[in-house]
Symmetry: C2
Subunit: 344 residues, 2 copies
Amino acid sequence: MPSNTSVIYLKNPTEFPVVGEHFAAQTIKDFKPVLKDGEVLTRNLVFSLDPYMRGKMRDSSKESYSPSFEIGKPLDARGVAEVIESKNDKFPVGSIIHAFIGWEEYTVLPELPTTRIIPGVRETKLPLSSYVGVLGMPGLTAYASLKDIGKPKAGETIFISAASGAVGQLAGQLAKAWGLTVIGSAGSDDKVDYLLKEVGFDKAFNYKKRSVHDALKELAPNGIDIYFENVGGETLEAALDNMNIFGRIIACGMISQYNTTTPYGVKNLMNVVSKRLTMRGFIVSDFYEQYFGDFFREVRDLLLEKKIVYKVDEVKGVEAAPNAFVGLLQGKNFGKQVVTVADL
Amino acid sequence: MPSNTSVIYLKNPTEFPVVGEHFAAQTIKDFKPVLKDGEVLTRNLVFSLDPYMRGKMRDSSKESYSPSFEIGKPLDARGVAEVIESKNDKFPVGSIIHAFIGWEEYTVLPELPTTRIIPGVRETKLPLSSYVGVLGMPGLTAYASLKDIGKPKAGETIFISAASGAVGQLAGQLAKAWGLTVIGSAGSDDKVDYLLKEVGFDKAFNYKKRSVHDALKELAPNGIDIYFENVGGETLEAALDNMNIFGRIIACGMISQYNTTTPYGVKNLMNVVSKRLTMRGFIVSDFYEQYFGDFFREVRDLLLEKKIVYKVDEVKGVEAAPNAFVGLLQGKNFGKQVVTVADL
């Protein structure tokens, strides 16, 4: 094992993180870890970049649902890896696992409750990136929150913001499969075309070209029953004005508010009272026990039968991860952002 | 029946309503109604003034949960009345009913699904105002929303804004009876004293004298599990910052936002995501079937056993209603605002 390249966390950003200042790739030339009992050494294959990671770039004294990144250590991510050395009987050498690994080529993993062997990876030949996207946490996020919080009923209308992203594209296809009218917003005409022509959204619009409020008035003339919230700010405000009575808001993320020191003030929360809305936040680990239940079976079957499409935005190599992450925060990715580290 | 004084709705206000401009008392000298089948004539005893009524002072083309007041007609309110003429077998002369009556001395009532005979009014001798307050819609609002949305657990902490108001004082006492630590905010030192010394709140503060954010940090050092929201705006923002993970927000009202054309923008809704909060709006009629169920029995028994206290702010006579309503919107009332029209 000649060397291990990792992306190291250097400093907390206040707005957008800057490559080289807040995080940077570093290479250890002579990487020869010695495993303790329970640990495994992984050869990392692919890992996921997600907007929630911006929330981990904070002072460690601020509590949140996900621990902060540690200064001087590699950033971590949900990824797929091969076990190449093992002091843990549950994860023998050769296992393909789903785990929190580093943004790096090789990781020494302690025994963590969220590390699992993924069944059938070599047999089904789905792209490895599937397991951190549509069949990973973003997929579970879309599936479980739509079911548990959205409580979708055939004939209803759902609006999904950041609809071409990791979570949005699957949420839209599941909602469509369950009989809803699906409306999406995205930040470029290419993304809108993709939603309409390839993913099968009923309606979609480019929020950079028109007012979200006007678009929703026009595209959802009967109002919105479920809002899948990934964006926050003005988009949330427009959705609130267009919600129906007893509407549900799945508060999955608010990416427009992550990289600013001047957050947007939402002025029409009175809609929550007058329309009897429910707005609920969650994190995907709330639904973790569902992972290898209905979710994995149902969505893997849909993928194998090619009944759902899923766009991945892939960069290659650990060194490319920091710029890809900044691009993700700026909405430059098109599809689920992943970093491919090695082939199986 | 020599005359009938009513408060007539004249014009939609944009900010605070003004007596004489937006509503005013008028007297019909010779009031001799002729009843149709199904109708009753009521002698009105007491009616309730509530902040939600401000929402009815709007253009009738704007839909909301409660129909707008009609220009040129008396305003309506939940009240207690005696049936003095009847063309409806369900409501014989002499019945004491709970109904939507006018802000007036006498009302001709059509048959409405929410009109009910109140059992035991003459026998139990509770003040009539109880039936529009602690035993009326405000009471049901506090009881049912606290149970259904708040899902209180002994040992948790609840924060109640507008705590000395119609809903707040009962919500606090029920929460206390169910084993919670109860914190309230109110707009005067007298109200705070009342909450602490007479109602039995654990902690209370005057939001006009200190920052709600700082007060909550100090008074709820372990965070807030349930926020009973009556106020909106900056108070909601402060509550959001101090909520615990899996906290519940009972979105009952947002009185700070009712009389302004420049609503406050809430900038920290990201807390809903990161703390996995649930915020849910409702209107009391969602819970109406519970009225003569557990609620009426449980709260009437508590009242008869003097286990709960309940402060009423009473004005006498229909003519006093408009000023009392404006005072209510400005927080000048102290306790549940009622208008007494006549004695039983």
